[in-house]
Amino acid sequence: MSGIRQAIGDAATVTRRNLIKIKRVPDLLVFTTLSPIMFVLLFAYVFAGAIGTQNTGVDYKEFLVAGIFAQTVVFGSTFSGISLAEDLQKGFVDRFRTLPMAPSAMLFGRTASDVVNNVISLVVMGLTGLVVGWRIRSSLVEALAGALLLLLFAYALSWVMAYVGLVVRTPEVVNNASFIVIFPLTFVANTFVDSTTLPGPLETLANWNPVSAVTQSARELFGNTNPAFPPPDAWPLQNPELYTLIWIAIILAIFIPLSIRQYQRTTSR
């Protein structure tokens, strides 16, 4: 048992190190928070007119904000991969690997400190949403459950990106490579448009896309659904919370051991 306690202590030490960086490099925080603000404003004022008219009676901003929440936490997960690739390049992974610390600590520490990043982004986005007219129409407990589900999903994706960062090794490449995956992942979904408006195969893809389920869950839990506009008749979107939790469990079960194994074999080049 002392092994587990030690591993938790090590992860806490690494988390603290990562959080100090957020404090010392405020620019980083400014930009992580500016981009969601930009997205809320961009979609709320540029696309709302065009997209909203198709679903008469539905307020697009109500529909949109959950989508942006989902998109932001998905994009935020790349940070885990980029930071690890940076640590690898600077010889930091080498240093940690010569210490008698738990091999899991660097990764648990990284993903934990990225949760803090995501909490900050969610708060900033929520406030921006409120400014443009979005409202939470459910209970406080449901709203917190919605935020928690978004954070859990982001946490799982952090582990995927951590693995990518350790394999790809170059921060810039991690950044570019992940964009190619993340853009379609967040756009072929019900995040910004109603998935029924998508052409055949894309509609199926969007309905089974976990990002759609996260978004639909957030909409339901924040009380932003509209009875006049029910979700598509696909199982994942009829049971979005369950479907999301299944994805989270699968991703964590695969990528936690995979990333730790990769970390133990990785050394700077």
């Binding site: 202590g9 030490t13 960086k21 600077k90 080498d94 010569t98 008698p100 700077s268």
Partner: protein, 337 residues
């Protein structure tokens, strides 16, 4: 005395798209407890790979090694508990202060919060970093970063220390400072394996020197043994005309304690000497008497090149196969001067 490090027949092959590269080619190495061994060799000889295998970062393809009695492959965690490592490029966190860096490393050695803090403050004092202790490392000079990195390796007072090119890239003053720190350290009985490209550095710091080339130890002994093989100072002459090279060689072989070596392309003739400046004067007199026009003349200490020349009959080189690969493997894009 017990062996702190015993490595036998280490082989490490890097596979890349362009083929296989043998970084270690049956390397044997022994470090006695309480001694300092310098691993001397050019870029790409396998120095960093050796350190990485011994510090459990890399798994060798063949061979075995124990460090402080623990097997590198079977009990890596026991090895890690007993060693301190400072790499070729200071792995200190730029955004943390010097104190925070050391405190973090102390905690990861499981010293506990209080002991980590005390050790961190003590080491910052010892390494002359007290004034900078609470500033982020971003503002530190190269020498300060190296000292901090070394302090990190020492925080748990490990009995065995590995230093990979501790002074590469430092200016002469910081290098001297680093030498002082290391000398004090080993005075306290720490066992040390360090790598270097500088003969002078190995001579200054190490009790024994192992010369490494193409992933193998090609010579091993005390620095005196090595120096008697290599000779002491060199007189180096560059003659003005190609036609004079032969005559200069004859003349210099007469004043030196060994054969003069000619480097035709640069019209450079080098000979090991003993007797310092008076030999230089004698060389000038004789060259003048032989009618050789000299365009440059100097007395210098032997370098790694001279060691290689006397051991292998060729100059130290970044060999085309191993060299390119190890440089790539150690750090992309940053070449050592």
């Amino acid at each position: 005395m017990a062996d702190a490090v015993r490595a036998e027949g280490l082989v490490k092959i890097y596979k890349s798209r362009s083929g296989e590269v043998r970084a270690l080619h049956g390397l044997d190495l022994t470090v006695e407890e309480g001694t300092v061994v310098g691993l001397l060799g050019p870029n790409g000889a396998g120095k960093t790979t050796t350190i990485k295998v011994l510090t459990t970062l890399l798994t060798p393809d063949a061979g075995s090694a124990t460090v402080m009695g623990a097997d590198v492959l079977a009990a890596p965690k026991d090895v890690k508990r007993r060693i301190g490592v400072s790499g070729q490029y200071a792995a200190v966190d730029e955004y943390l202060t010097g104190f925070e860096n050391l405190d973090m490393v102390g905690r990861l050695y499981h010293l506990g919060a209080e002991r980590s803090r005390t050790r961190a403050r003590d080491l910052l004092d010892q390494f002359g970093l007290t004034d900078a202790a609470d500033r982020p490392v971003k503002g530190y000079s190269g020498g300060m970063r190296r000292r901090l990195d070394l302090a990190g390796a020492l925080i748990a007072q490990p009995p065995m220390l590995f230093l990979d090119e501790p002074t590469t890239g430092l200016d002469p003053r910081s290098r001297l400072g680093m030498w002082e720190v290391i000398t004090d350290l080993v005075g306290g009985g720490t066992t040390l394996l360090l790598t270097t490209q500088y003969l002078e550095e190995a001579d200054q710091l190490a009790d024994r020197i192992a010369v490494i080339d193409h992933g193998r130890v090609i010579a091993e002994g005390t620095s005196d043994t090595l120096k008697s093989q290599v000779g002491g100072e060199r007189v180096e002459v560059v003659v003005a005309h190609d036609a004079d090279v032969g005559r200069a060689r004859e003349v210099l072989s007469g004043v030196g304690i060994g054969e003069a070596v000619v480097e035709n392309r640069s019209r450079r003739v080098t000979v090991p000497v003993s007797g310092g400046a008076s030999v230089l004067v004698e060389a000038v007199r004789r060259l003048d008497g032989a009618g050789v026009t000299v365009s440059d003349l100097s007395l210098r200490r032997p370098t790694l090149d001279d060691v290689f020349l006397s051991l292998t009959g060729r100059a130290a080189e970044e060999s085309d196969d191993t060299g390119a690969a190890e440089r790539e493997v150690t750090w992309v894009g940053k070449d050592v001067p």
